[in-house]
Each structure stands twice: as C-alpha cells, then as structure tokens.
C-alpha cells in the first residue's frame, strides 16, 4: 500500500517537473544577458598557455584575450603592427623591436619589452614542455635552451636582449626576412608577471592584454569572457562579452542554434551542410580559410621514391575528380586546389591559381597513361591511410579512390585504410609504418607562403611527414628567406613551389573554407583567415 502511493506521487512529481521545464524552456533567446553572445566551443586539448596552444579551440580564446606585436588583418590576412611601434632591421637577421606606450594587461600591469622576452624564453625552454617551442627555433641560442637530445644548457635565449623599458633586440641564427610577419602568431604574445609567479592561478583564469577579459572559466564546459572597458587598442569589442560553451557534438550545437539556445556555431557539421541554406539563409557564412588538404607520400619507402615515381604521383593526381567531390560531398565548402598554398594569401602574398597546371586537372585517359609510364602503382594497389575518428574523412577518401579506380579502369587500384584514432594515425606516420599515401591537412600558423612550403617540404622539417628531400627546393627556400625585398622573396618561394609541382611531392586536393551560422540577434559576423570568428567585431541586438 505504502509503496504504491509513493509511486503515484513520484509519477505526478515527474510530470509536474516536466511541465515546469516546458514553460521555462521556450522563448529564451541565447540564454544570456543583453549584449553578450554565446558561441560553440570545444574543450582545448592543452593548457591555455600561448606557446602551448596549437589547435583552433584554444586559439579562439587566445585571440580574444591577447594582442601581440603584430596582428593579422581579419579580412586580408596582412600582418599589421599592433603593439609594435616599429621593427627595424638592416640585415634580416638582427631586429630591434619597440613596443608601443600605454598598453597594459587587464590586471593593470604595464606591457613592456620584458613581458615579451620573458614569455618567449618561457616558450622556448625545454623544461616547460611547450608544444609551440619550435616557433622560437629561429632565435639564436634555441639549440641551448631546447636541444634535440639531452638536457638544456641555458635558461634563456642568447638572441633576446632587453635594451630599454620598451625596446628589445632579437638576433636570429639565420637570415629570415619574414620573421616580423610571424610575430602575430599567438605563441609570441606577451605575458604578465602573474603567469610566472602564480602559474596555477593564471591557468585557472588566464589574464591577457586583449579586448576581452575572462570573468569565469569552468574547465571542460564553459568560459565567460567580458568586454574589457579599459582596453587601449583600436579594435575594442563591439559587444558586451562572449560566452563559450563546450559542445561534444557539433550537431547538438547546430540544434541549439536552431532552437535559439545558442548565437553562433563556427563549424557547421558536414551532416547539416545540405540544410544550412534553408535553415539560416544569409546567416550562414562560408569563406576561404588558410587550410589546404593534400595527399602525402612515403618517400622513405623506395617504391615511391624511384625515377618515374613522379609520373605515378602525377597520374594519381590527374585521376581525382576534385570538382565533383567538393560539390557533392562538401557542398562547395571546399574549392579544388590548383597550387600548394591558399587563396587567403592573396596574389601578392604568393597564392597563384593554376600553378599546378594540368597535374591538378581531371584527365582520366592521360592519368592512366602516366601511371603506366611510371611503372604502375607500387604493389599494385594504393592504400590511402586516414584517421576515421573526426571529420568526414571516410566519405572523401572513398570518393577519391572511386575516382582513381574509374580513371585507371581497375576497381582494386585504390582503397582507403582507416586508423581508429588521430593519435594512432600520427604514430604510424611518425614510425614510418605507412607504405602508401596518407591524408595530410595543413592549417597555416601565419599567412605567409613560407608557412605553406618550408614546414612541409624542406628537408627534415617538422611536418615533412613523408621525408621528401630535394636540394633545389631547399636552396630556393634558403634564398627566399634571406631576401629582404618581400615581392622578390614571394617570387623565389613560388620558384620553390614549382619544384614541388614538378616532383608532385604531395597531391593538392582542395582549399578548405571556414563556415559558421548565427542567430538573428547578431550582425557583422565574419571569420578570419584562420576560420575563427572575429568576435570583437560582432554586434548584438
């Protein structure tokens, strides 16, 4: 008797609670205060230190709370002075940097030359396990604070010297004319003293010098950023703040946007691309980002690195119907690639449409001929390796293989080879276990043609996963880096790119766009070339 009565009571309570939430659920727009927008977010993989953040989710926050010496124009991608008053050099190797007066961190501390030098020394030091440490590799003394093996023999970079309250000098270990333009990357941000004195406290609630300050941070679920009213820069926030909400699944974020529970989703899930135009109309944006997808080859495997192999690689490239795949699978959120850089560089920055020539065009008959001339596919079958845990890699790899099979008239010419997790995929690449081409995606660190070539194709470079090596290419890159005239440097880089083309060191597939959708409350929403929303420009209401 007693049990049954309890049961009935509980059922009634559950029904009432459901009704209560029902009333509360509807009608709310954005679920946050006026002037504050909510935006989808992913849990950053690494602690939020500037020199330790190498993915877009952590990068989003750093872009809001930090300003460096330079800033990449959100529209053009050009590196413009931000905190730098001037950066002088006469030989492209020794730089004198003057920091603008009047800048402070949001805790009131002044931004000085020391704020930069301390931050860079921290980032470079092996002891601190910073994943972006290699960005400081051009600075003299890097090999002492961050040796390839063994323990470090110095605490600080020799090449950095504070010469005044607002001036410091940088000496590089080689000529690098593009160096000032790399300084907009987050790893080069200044850090307040509290970062060093109370590191755990700083990580719990990072303090920077950008247009926003962090009000609260619940790791793994939410971060509330508010406009910093005393921000001294010109790019003040045009809204009152941003609430970043962690979503495990992009589809849920999209559903939340549809229900008016979220204001901005900055990566439309592939499954929704078909509906997004209908759902959002002109509140959907799709703009080029500095990302190129390629297929890399295992040059450490002699089967792919003999004379004639370049014909096979070129043949495979010509067997891929890029336009069809970008139209049907990606719904035009990617564009067929015809060089090895990205449209966001602009023509002056080194992007050259069609540099690849007929090697990137779909010509099935010629493709078949070239593969035969080159001695056929090594082992008789191309196995394209990819990680199946994220993105829609399976769909497009299968489509690429289909295209190759059709062109070569052999339905066993190409198969996909999925790997369970990204870490395992990177492992197999690192241990040279792959015997066929593999998926390679490159998101630029800074909008320079150098960043699309040197890290990927220079002998022994950090992301040269296929271990391609070519003396002509290396020589041209060295020459371009030493060039003081920007236009000439870009031209020389393009010469180097042609070496990549002639050897088909990697097959360019497509340029990736950034996509976003937003609610009716927002206006003036845009993505920068890094496919991160330009939060400070967004207007609410």
């Amino acid at each position: 008797m007693r049990g049954a009565r309890h049961a009935r009571w509980a059922a009634g309570a559950a029904a009432m609670a459901l009704a209560a939430t029902a009333c509360g659920g509807g009608g709310g727009s954005g679920g946050s205060a006026d002037g504050v927008l909510s935006s989808s977010w992913g849990d950053p993989q690494n602690p939020l230190e500037p020199s330790n953040t190498n993915e877009v989710q952590g990068g989003k926050v750093l872009d809001m709370i930090f300003r460096g010496l330079k800033r990449y124009n959100p529209k053009t991608g050009a590196a413009e002075n931000m905190l730098a008053e001037k950066i002088d050099t006469s030989d492209s190797q020794n730089f004198t940097i003057t920091v603008k007066d009047g800048w402070t961190f949001s805790n009131g501390e002044k931004v000085t030359a020391k704020s930069f030098v301390d931050a860079w020394n921290y980032g470079a030091s092996l002891r601190n396990n910073q994943k972006n440490a290699y960005f400081f590799g051009y600075i003299e003394g890097y090999d002492k604070v961050h040796p390839g093996g063994g323990s470090q023999t110095a605490e600080k970079l020799d090449g950095l010297k504070v010469t005044g309250d607002r001036t410091f000098t940088v000496r590089l270990n080689q000529k690098f004319s593009g160096f000032p333009d790399t300084l907009g990357y987050a790893a080069f941000a200044p850090l307040p003293q509290s970062f060093f004195t109370d590191h755990a406290g700083w990580l719990a609630k990072p303090v920077g010098n950008g247009p926003y300050a962090i009000e609260s941070y619940t790791k793994g679920s939410q971060m509330e950023l508010r406009k910093w009213d005393a921000y001294p820069g010109d790019d003040k926030a045009r809204n009152d703040g941003v609430t970043l909400k962690v979503y495990t699944d992009g589809n849920t974020a999209y559903t939340d946007l549809m229900a008016g529970n979220l204001d901005l989703v900055d990566d439309i899930p592939a499954a929704q691309l078909k509906n997004v135009k209908n759902d959002l109309g002109d509140r959907y944006i799709n703009t080029p980002a500095g990302i190129i997808q390629t297929l890399a080859f295992p040059f450490y495997d002699p089967a792919w690195n003999k004379s004639g192999s370049e014909k096979v690689r070129k043949g495979l490239s010509m067997a891929i119907n890029r336009a069809q795949i970008t139209d049907t699978i990606f719904q035009k959120t990617r564009t067929p690639a015809s060089d090895w850089t990205s449209p966001v560089l602009g023509v002056a920055g080194g992007f050259k449409e069609g540099l690849c020539g007929d090697g990137c065009e779909y010509k099935p008959a010629e493709a078949k001929k070239l593969v035969q001339e080159g001695g056929g596919i090594p082992g008789g079958q191309v196995r394209i390796t990819y990680n199946a845990d994220t993105g829609s890699h399976r769909e497009w790899i299968d489509a690429v293989c289909n295209s190759i099979n059709n062109a070569l008239g052999n339905d066993k010419a190409c198969v996909g080879n999925p790997v369970g997790t990204f870490a395992d995929f990177r492992n197999q690449i690192g241990q040279h276990k792959l015997t066929g081409p593999f998926r390679a995606g490159w998101q630029m660190d800074y909008p320079l043609i150098q960043n699309f070539l040197q890290p990927l194709y220079y002998t022994g470079a950090s992301s040269n996963d296929g271990k391609w090596s070519n003396k002509d290419f290396d020589r041209l890159v060295d020459r371009a880096n030493a060039e003081t005239d920007t236009a000439k440097a870009v031209q020389t880089f393009q010469e180097a790119e042609k070496v990549v083309r002639d050897n088909m060191a990697a097959i360019p597939l497509w340029y990736q766009n950034g996509s976003a959708g937003y609610s009716q409350r927002l206006s003036n929403v845009a993505l920068n070339p890094f496919s991160v929303p330009v939060y400070n420009e967004i207007k609410v209401g």
Binding site: G25, G31, Y134, K219, Y247, T248, T252, A253, R426, N427
Partner: protein
C-alpha cells in the same frame, strides 16, 4: 549477514585488480598518445621525450601499472593531458551522471513497475496489448534515434525544453535525457514485472490472501508485488552500473558533461589516466550495486538468509 558482507567485499579485490589491469592494457594497445598532441605535425623529439617521462610512458608497462595502482590507493588518479588532475574531472563529471542515473532509475521504477503491474493484472486486455507493442517499439529503436527525435521535436519544433543541458545540469533539465537513457531498460522492467506478476497471481499464497478477505490493494502490494519484485530488483541493480557507463550516447546528444563525455574524450585523446580512472570508479559502482541487490533479496523474501 555481517560476515557475508565482508566476504563479498573481499571478493571485490581480485575483480577490481583484474578489471583495472585489463583496461590499462587495452588503452595501452592503442599506442603512444603523445603523437596526437601536436596537431598535424610531429612533436619535436625533445618535448615528446620529456612529456613521456612526465606521464611515465617511457617505463615498461608493468611498472606503469604498479605506479598507477600505488597512486590510486593514495587517492591520486593522475593528470589528464590538459593539465587537470583526473580527480578534478571526476568531481565535476560524476555528480552530473549520478543525477542523470537517478532520473533514469526513477523512471524505470515508477513508470516501469506501474505499467508492469497494470498489464500483469490485466493480461490479454487491450491495455496489455498496447503496452506490450509500445515496449517492443522502444526496445527495437536505437537509443540515439529516440534521443535525436525527442530533441528535435521537444527542443526545436515545440520548444518545450532546451535541446542541450546547461553545465550545471539541474534535475529539471535532465528529465528528457533521463527518459531517453532509461527508455530501453524501462521497457524491460515493464515486461519483467508483467510476467512475474502474471505468474504469481495464480499462486497459493495469493489465493489464501484473497480467501482471508484482505482488500485487493493490500493483496497486490503486500503479497503479490513484493514477491514478484525479485527479478526486477536484480535487473535494476545491475542496470545502475550499465546506465552510468552507457550514458555516452545520451550525454553526447544532449551535450551533458558527465562521465560519458569524459570517457569519450579520454578515449579519443588516448588519455590512459582519464579512461582507467573513470572506468575503475565505474567498476566499483557496479560491484557495490550488485552487493546491495543481493542484500535487498533478504529484505524482499524473508526466506533468503545470508550467513
């Protein structure tokens, strides 16, 4: 009774060690997790080596396991790759999942048993057939379909609820996710109760109770239901562990930052410490829930005695 509990608790030790060892080995088979930390590039060897040293990944596996177990007994579950101690992750994730599980279990008990009793007593009537068909539908539709459909219907089309759960995850917001999580088990509970009730309805003690002239509701609750609940309690007890661990799909659909979310992320990032830590706690929950179920038998059926 006391000795029985102690014996059961002692039995948990080998199960606990075996389970953690298995999970530890399985996560390690996936390979070196450091490689996934540096994006689309190779980690520079010096940093990678140092990270491996700090996480103890450079040691042989048996040594890693022993160190890990040693730490666990002092309450240190290690550190996730984002620098947070795993205990901190647990402190945020478990309360949320426990709330979700409570909602789900309540649905199972209240709705499941009520429907079971109703249908068991009215076997063959239209209500019985309707509920049976209903449970069949629920069992055959995968949870993620139920979840997504309810989310779109209630959240977007009718705007009754918010499609995602806020970080605090109060009980009110967990009702629909809890219902989704409980749906399949709920159907099983209904069917179990129904069969059990229908079978015991004809037994001698029920007939005796009716013959004594007891009121109908007293016969049902005191005599019939109490005896029919034993298989149901077993099911619900084991289901507690299954619900907590199996919430990955539901938590993902409704963006609930609980155990399922941490496990999913831990597996994707091959974070041994997170995965082993969370699964270890889940194993403990499972063992304790089972013990409680066995003790409950004695309460429900006085003939069962533990010595």
């Amino acid at each position: 009774m006391g000795r029985y509990v102690v014996r059961r608790l002692l039995q948990m030790i080998p199960v606990f060690v075996g389970a953690t060892l298995l999970i530890f080995l399985m996560v390690n088979v996936m390979g070196d997790p450091i490689a996934g930390l540096c994006g689309e590039r190779a980690c520079d060897p010096a940093t990678a080596a140092q990270l491996k040293r700090e996480f103890g990944l450079d040691k042989p596996l048996w040594q890693q396991y022993l160190t890990y177990m040693g730490d666990v007994f002092t309450g240190d579950f290690g550190t996730a790759f984002n620098g947070q101690p795993v205990t901190e992750l647990m402190a945020t994730a478990f309360p949320v999942t426990i709330r979700l599980t409570i909602v789900a279990i309540l649905f199972e008990i209240v709705v499941g048993i009520t429907l079971g009793v109703v249908t068991g007593l009215r076997r063959g009537r239209p209500i019985d057939t309707t509920v049976l068909v209903g449970t069949l539908v629920v069992i055959s539709v995968p949870v993620f379909v139920t979840g997504l459909v309810l989310q779109i219907l209630l959240g977007v089309e009718w705007q009754w609820i918010q499609p995602s759960v806020s970080p605090d995850a109060p009980f009110g917001e967990l009702i629909v996710p809890g219902l989704v999580l409980a749906s399949v088990s709920l159907a099983y509970v209904t069917r179990l109760t129904r069969t059990s009730i229908a079978e015991n309805k004809r037994s001698d003690y029920v007939r005796t109770a009716i013959a004594k002239g007891l009121p109908r509701h007293r016969v049902i609750t005191r005599h019939l239901l109490r005896n029919s609940l034993i298989p149901v309690v077993t099911f619900i007890g084991t289901d507690i562990g299954a619900l907590m661990g199996g919430a990955i799909v539901t938590e993902r659909i409704f963006n609930i930052h609980g155990v399922g979310y941490q496990l999913y992320q831990g597996i994707l990032r091959q974070n041994t410490q997170t995965v082993v830590g969370f699964v270890t706690v889940l194993v403990l929950v499972f063992l304790v829930a089972n013990l409680l179920v066995d003790l409950l038998y004695a309460v429900l059926d006085p003939r069962i005695r533990y010595a």
